[in-house]
């Protein structure tokens, strides 16, 4: 599983880094950022799903492994 943030949609609500701080951080203006390469380590899938499901702008994208 991999996560991405659509920066055109992100408005800095911060739900992703509230709910999954191991996967997301904030830039200097509070917009969400994916930490590292976005690959979700085993065991952190639930955090990724919660971040995506709670983003008010639907800016968090999950790419499931195919």
């Amino acid at each position: 599983m991999k996560v991405q943030i659509d920066s055109d949609r992100c408005q800095g609500h911060g739900r992703c880094y509230d709910l999954a701080p191991e996967l997301f951080g904030a830039d200097d203006e509070g917009y969400g950022q994916v930490l590292g390469d976005g690959v979700v380590p085993a065991g952190q899938e639930q955090g990724a799903r919660l971040a995506a499901a709670n983003c008010p702008e639907s800016a968090v994208i999950i790419l499931e492994e195919t």
């Binding site: 408005q11 800095g12 709670n54 639907s58």
Partner: protein, 426 residues
């Protein structure tokens, strides 16, 4: 070195004389039909707007009123979201509905940038403020907020033996006033004044412009004094930051500086006051939820989001730019939109059990802080204040009940929360 005289009294009076705008006929009295004559200033709406919104959502879903010179009320989540995201067709030139519409040429800046601003100016004005309101920047105020919440509870006076306190007036109200005052660098002994300023801004929307101007004068007199004092004695706070800030190679105009300070001071106060109060009101009346959160502080962050969804305090407004179709209705230029995030948050098409408060709701894509480019600048501040206020209260006062449910009063207008909240705490 040249003196900074942007904030002089003479220049301010010259500008005040240039104020224009249009006034619509004032229509008051009871609402005849919520679908065609709604009024968010009605006491029935203040007491419990949710059944009204639920009814409108099923049968309208965009209600209308001739009041305020014409206004629309969308009640579905999708309609609220699409308007919030559509800054091409809907302007933020004014964001509090009244019978007064400011002049068209106030756009794209508006009176209180950036909340009153439209693109592209909005982006640049907001960028000046974002770094001060990130979650990390706000974290610096958490410890002092916690100490302040504790000091408010220490000061509760239950000496009459009834064991009742007003959680709205003696607790919730003071927390956001003190924190934003500290951020702006305003004297702590002035904190109680801020509540009067909030009332002057939000409680006067139906007054004629001259009368409203008189009511707002003490706020502007106070802020111009504070700004001039900061010009003379610069320090590390938001007021000095705005005085020194530049846009397009120039310092900000005096109306931008003071308008933004008005926004920062007013917008964070009765909103967060409302969120804290509504959460305590819910917990006072719901024993299971109260016991759960008192026993499990870890459950609070999720519960808090549910309080924000179900009791979202803030409704915004927009002005229609040009005649247009929106769904099944024909909107006219200069019609108001009452942009009800509370109504969106209770749309059953978007939330399971939308009318129920489910404190373990894990998936909660609510819009309490708005959507799109105007996402509440202070949302990280509000969340910190709400969380700390509830953590401190629940740890100090785990058992509390509504002393008299019929004595609870709720504010009218676009910000909704308890204004009298007698709680029995012992």
């Amino acid at each position: 070195m040249t003196t900074d005289n942007r904030f002089s009294q003479e220049l301010r009076e010259e500008r005040d004389e240039q104020q224009t705008g249009t006034l619509s006929e004032v229509i008051t009295g009871p609402v005849s039909d919520w679908a065609t004559d709604f009024s968010h200033a009605d006491p029935e709406w203040a007491a419990d707007p949710f059944p009204i919104q639920d009814d409108l959502r099923q049968r309208c879903p965009v209600a209308h009123t001739e009041r305020f010179g014409g206004a629309w009320l969308p009640t579905r989540y999708d309609d609220v979201a699409s308007i919030a995201h559509d800054t091409e067709r809907f302007s933020s030139r004014a964001i509090v509905i009244s019978n007064f519409r400011p002049p068209l040429d106030l756009a794209p800046v508006g009176g209180t940038p950036p909340i009153s601003s439209d693109p592209p100016f909005h982006h640049d004005a907001r960028k000046l403020l974002l770094p001060a309101f990130t979650k990390t920047a706000i974290g610096r105020y958490e410890e002092s907020t916690r100490e302040y919440c504790n000091s408010l509870i220490d000061a509760f006076d239950t000496s009459d033996g009834r064991g009742v306190v007003d959680a709205a007036q003696d607790y919730a109200k003071y927390i956001p006033m003190r924190v934003i005052g500290d951020m702006l660098g305003l004297p702590q002994q002035d904190t109680a004044l801020f509540a009067e300023f909030v009332e002057a801004v939000l409680g006067t929307v139906d007054l004629p412009p001259e009368e409203r101007g008189e009511r707002l004068r003490p706020l502007f007199d106070y802020l111009y004094d504070q700004v001039r004092e900061h010009v003379d004695n610069p320090r590390d706070d938001l007021t000095t930051h705005l005085i020194n800030a530049e846009l397009y190679g120039q310092k900000l105009g005096p109306e931008h500086v003071v308008g933004t300070i008005v926004l920062l001071l007013i917008a964070g106060i009765d909103t967060t006051w409302s969120a804290i109060g509504a959460s305590l009101w819910h917990l006072a009346g719901n024993r299971a939820d109260r016991e759960r959160l008192a026993a499990s502080p870890n459950a609070l962050p999720t519960a808090m989001e549910e309080f924000l969804r179900a009791y979202a305090p803030v409704t915004m407004a927009r002005l229609v730019k040009q005649d247009m179709h929106f769904g099944d209705v024909d909107m006219k230029a200069e019609d108001w939109i009452l942009l009800s995030f509370p109504a969106a948050n209770r749309d059953p098409a978007h939330f399971d059990q939308a009318d129920q408060v489910v404190i373990d709701r894990e998936v909660n894509r609510h819009a309490a802080f708005g959507l799109g480019i105007h996402r509440c600048l202070g949302s990280h501040l509000a969340r910190m204040e709400l969380r700390v206020a509830l953590e401190v209260w629940l740890s100090r006062i785990p058992e509390f009940t509504l002393a008299d449910p019929s004595a609870v009063t709720w504010s009218t207008g676009q910000i909704r929360g308890p204004r009298t909240l007698p709680l029995r705490i012992s």
